[in-house]
Structures are given as C-alpha cells and as structure tokens.
C-alpha cells in the first residue's frame, strides 16, 4: 500500500521534473529541474532495494555532473533575448507528436515481450547492491570500463590543449 503510493508520488515527480527540464526557458531552471528528476529516480531505485544505485545517482549525477552543467550555463552568460530567440516555434507541436508516438509504441513493447511479468517486478534482490554493481563493473565488463576511462582522459587532455595553449 505505502509502496504503491510512494511509487506514484515519485513517478509523478520524475515525470513532472522531466517535463520542466525541456519546457523551462531559463537554463538554470532546467538544470535544477533535472536535479529534481535525478532525486525522483534515486527514490525509485531505493524502492527497488537498490540502495547503492540510488545513492550513486545522487552523488554522481545530481551532486557532480549537474554542478558542472550549471557552471557551464553560468559561464555562458546567456541573455534573456538570446534564450527567447533559441526557443523553437513548433516546440509544443513536436512535444505533442512525441507524446502520440509514445502512446502508440508503448503498448507494442508489451506485445513484443509478452512473457515478462511486469506487475510483480522483474529485478533480482541483488539488483543495484554494491557487490553486484562492483562485479558487473570490475569483472564482467572490465574492458569496456577501462576503455571508457580512456575516453574521459581524452576529453580532459583535449580540454587542456584548448584552454592552455602554452603549458
């Protein structure tokens, strides 16, 4: 009972914040709405008993990445007129089209995977625990994980080269 109520509250918050991310004119407002969306997602993870995932969701995405995003937005220093100009005219139409498309596609998903037990949850109790995430990252998918760190290193080196011409 409590779980159902909590789920709908969190899901509504997640969808509401998600909509705010794409409808706000002010980029800071969008970024803060995204923080709220991450918090809702973390709550959903916590309800799946995936405590590690939910905390990492807050720690890495809300606390780390979104701070950097807000930094970038502040340093860009966009004027309100620029923002008005950037706002697409047919945005609402596009949104409506996406909504209709999603309404058509989502029942098809249920037909494609008919044997999935959607109601009773399909994640194992181990889902999102520290041990299972660690095993996935450092045992099953170690090579892609290391490659990803190389990609990030490339980005850091690239940023340094662009920012500091003479070191």
């Amino acid at each position: 009972m409590i779980e159902t109520v909590l789920f709908y509250i969190l899901a509504a918050a997640l969808i509401g914040f998600g909509l705010m991310v794409i409808t706000r004119t002010n980029p800071i407002a969008s970024a803060m709405a995204m923080v709220g969306a991450f918090a809702g997602l973390a709550g959903l993870y916590a309800m799946l008993n995936a405590r590690f995932l939910s905390i990492i969701q807050i720690l890495v995405y809300a606390g780390g990445i979104m701070v950097l995003v807000i930094f970038v937005i502040m340093l860009l220093n966009l004027e309100p007129e620029d923002l008005q100009r950037m706002r697409a005219k047919g945005f609402v139409v596009l949104l409506a089209l996406i909504g209709v498309g999603a309404a058509i596609v989502s029942p098809m998903l249920f037909c494609v995977i008919p044997n999935k037990d959607w109601a009773n949850g399909s994640v194992s109790p181990e889902f999102g625990s520290m041990a299972s995430v660690g095993a996935k990252m450092f045992a099953d998918h170690l090579f892609p994980f290391e490659i990803l760190s190389l990609v990030l290193l490339t980005a850091v080196v690239g940023a340094l080269v662009l920012a500091k011409r003479k070191l």
């Binding site: 800071i28 803060m32 701070v67």
Partner: protein
C-alpha cells in the same frame, strides 16, 4: 506492543532526534566561537546581554541574536530570480540537517525484550549517503550566488562551489582508504570494528582499532577536506570579507541570512560527528568495548558519576576563575557558575542515591544496557565537542589561503597524497593476508 511497531516508533524517534541535534548544537557553537575567539585574542568576549541579571557568560546573546535577526527588514534585491533566491537558504539548511541520520549514538541495547537502536538509518552504504548529501550542499551556494544578481555573490558562489567540488575528491578518496581497512561501508559495522585493539601482522598492539591509528594519513586528509567542505577558515574564500564583502550571502538579510548562518554551524557539527564516528571510534569508549561495559554495570555507574562530577567541577572552576578575574561577578551572576556547572555534582550524587535506594546493590536487568548507552553517548559527545572546538581554534589561529594556493593544495597536493595513501594501504593489506 509488538516488535514491528516498536521498531517503527524507535526509528521515528531517532530520526527526529538526529534531525534536531545539529539545531541544538548551533547556539552552543555560536557561543563557543565568540568566547573562543575572545580567549585566543585575549579579550573578555560578549557578556552584556542579560535576562533579569542572568548572563550565563554570553549565552544570552543567542536570544538577542534571534530577536535581532527576526526584526531585520527582509530584503529581496531587484533583478534577482525570486524563486531560486528564496530556495537557496532553505536548501542550505535542509541539506545540513540530513547527514546525521546514519550516525549511531550508542550500541543497540535490549530492554524488556525489545531491541532499541540509537541510529536512525542503518544502510549498508551509509558513508556514501553522507557524501551524497553533502555534495548536494553545493547547489545552495551556487543558487544563492547566481540568483542574488550581484557580482560579489556570484564570485563567492563560483569560488565556493569550485572549492567544494575540488575537495570532495580528496574527501572521498580518504574514506576509500578507511573502507579498505574495515572492509565495509556500513557505519554501524565500522564503529563496532573500532572497539577492538589494533592487530598488525598477527600482533595485537595496545591501541584501540580507531581509524586515526589505522589511517593517520587519511585522517589528516579528511580533516583538511572537511574544513574546506564546511567553508571554514583557512578555506573560507566563499565569504572572504576583505575581497568579496560577504560572498554568496551578501544580498541576504533577516531570516534568510539566519538560515545560512545556522547552516554553516550545523555543517560544522555534522562534520565533527562524522569525523569522530569514522576516525575516532564513534561511541566506543577506548579499551572498553560494549561487551565489557555490559558485564561491569557497577563500574560503568561509578565511571558515569565520576565523569559527571568531574565535568561539573572543571567547568565550574573555569567559569568562576575566569568570571572573577576578568568580569568581576556581582549579584545574581555570582550564583551562575554554581547553577550552570556545579549542578553536575548534585546530579551525580542524586543518581547514586536514587539507584541505591530503589535497587540496593543488585541492579535491574535493564540497567547495564542503559548505563552503557549513556556512557557511550558521553564518549561520542566528548569527541564531537573536541572537534567543534578544533574548528573554532583553527579559524582564529590560521590566516586565509589565496585562491590559487587553495586550488594548488586541493589538486596538486591533497589528491596525489590521497592516491598514494590508497596505494600504501592496499600494499599493507596485501602483506597482512
């Protein structure tokens, strides 16, 4: 009462207790800061506010502060973004009250067949919870700086958030060293581990198994990083009065400023709790783990009474000597040291008399657990008070860093040192296997 309901009520009570604990510490911290700075600078410090002649050595100033802050004009600067301008102080206060939920105040005890825990949330990933909540505190600073529509606050906000992000890395890495030593991320398990003695290569050393002895380097890194995270001197560039007037909260007045002010102090209290829990054994009394305390209830009772009396005596002596030498106590103020601190004697005596009259020499079943919990709570609070004082002490002793020095320290000194610490910890752990 069935067990499930009992657990629910227990957790709810503990949640409220841990939520308001930092709030209770805030007036004490403000008083400590004022009197501490006065002692360090050889002044008398604030002692003029009074209620009917009672001054309590400047503690009444907290009431004066509240009245003053509530009566100030509540300004909203023009051109500010109203919603985020108002959101920032509330965000700051909320985030600073949350992390204490995972701190255990004492070992769980059994009373009348019920298991009572003194910890609101016992996750398996408790330490990460503290890190994730404190990382959310950056938004308050950024939003306050940005929404005020003032270049000083924007500069303060950007500086402070850059500083907090930089030092979060070393803080996290210092904690990783601790996790490698204790092999768990559950805070209650870490504290339980700290009750034993240190064993190195099979030999027991006469030292408690505390983080500060197992990870001395990690302790220093964590301490420095927590000073930076709480925006305290020598890392208080967010405020930097000489450069930025007051940093990110320059445009805030009245209650909104009070929220930022209280959040700063409650952040300090939270940091003191976290450091004492992770590195100084939490609630553990040195050389006396929970089982030993449970087995010797009479010893615990005597220790409690002696400590309470000692605390009352020392505090009373300090207040009386300090008061008479520097302030010349007159009238009702003459009785203050007695009322305020010598009360400890009376409490200790009353506890012994009441217990003896009601139970004689045989203590009831619940007594060992309850008394052990009280002693452990006292041990934790003693450590916390020490760190609260350390925060004040450092602020009034060290000068502020320059911004480039701050960044160099964070990225070029502390981060490599934290990585080296991890490497050494790993190597030592390998040789111990």
């Amino acid at each position: 009462m069935d067990n499930q309901l009992f657990t629910l009520i227990n957790i709810a009570v503990m949640t409220v207790v841990m939520w308001i604990t930092p709030l209770q510490f805030v007036p004490f911290m403000i008083w400590l800061e004022r009197k501490g700075s006065a002692i360090i600078q050889d002044r008398i410090g604030p002692n003029r506010a009074e209620i009917l002649g009672v001054r309590l050595f400047g503690m009444i100033h907290n009431f004066a502060d509240v009245v003053k802050l509530l009566n100030k004009e509540n300004i909203t600067p023009s051109g500010s973004n109203k919603f985020y301008y108002w959101l920032a102080p509330f965000w700051s206060m909320t985030v600073s009250l949350l992390p204490l939920l995972i701190i255990p105040l004492a070992a769980p005890i059994m009373v009348g067949g019920h298991n009572i825990v003194f910890q609101a949330a016992n996750f398996d990933v408790g330490i990460l919870y503290v890190l994730s909540i404190t990382s959310m505190g950056v938004f308050a600073v950024i939003l306050a700086g940005w929404a005020s529509n003032s270049k000083f606050s924007l500069l303060g906000g950007l500086r402070s958030s850059a500083q907090m992000i930089s030092y979060e890395l070393s803080m996290g890495l210092a904690i990783v060293g601790l996790l490698m030593v204790y092999q768990t991320t559950q805070v209650s398990a870490i504290v339980e581990n700290q009750g034993a003695l240190v064993t190195a290569w099979g030999h027991a050393l006469p030292l408690p198994n505390w983080g500060i002895f197992l990870q001395p380097f990690g302790f220093i890194l964590f301490l420095v990083a927590s000073f930076a995270e709480t925006n305290r001197n020598p890392f208080d560039l967010a405020e930097g009065e000489s450069e930025l007037v007051a940093g990110y909260h320059i445009e805030y007045s009245s209650v909104k400023f009070a929220l930022f002010f209280m959040a700063e102090y409650s952040n300090m209290v939270v940091a003191a709790f976290v450091i004492s829990t992770l590195f100084l054994g939490g609630y553990q009394v040195p050389y006396a783990p929970t089982e030993v305390l449970m087995a010797h209830p009479h010893g615990v009772l005597i220790a409690l009474c002696v400590l309470v009396a000692l605390k009352g005596g020392v505090l009373g002596y300090i207040f009386q000597v300090h008061g008479e030498r520097q302030e010349g106590l007159k009238g009702v103020r003459k009785a203050e040291p007695f009322f305020f601190a010598y009360l400890g004697y009376g409490l200790a005596l009353a506890a012994i008399v009441v217990l003896f009259l009601s139970f004689g020499w045989t203590l009831p079943d619940w007594a060992p657990g309850v008394m052990a919990a009280v002693l452990q709570l006292g041990a934790l609070l003693a450590k916390v008070f020490f760190f609260c004082w350390l925060f004040v002490w450092v602020r009034w002793t060290l000068p502020r860093f320059r911004y480039d020095q701050l960044m160099r320290l964070g990225w070029k000194v502390m981060l490599p040192l934290a990585l080296v610490n991890l490497l050494v910890t790993g190597l030592v752990l390998l040789t111990q296997k």
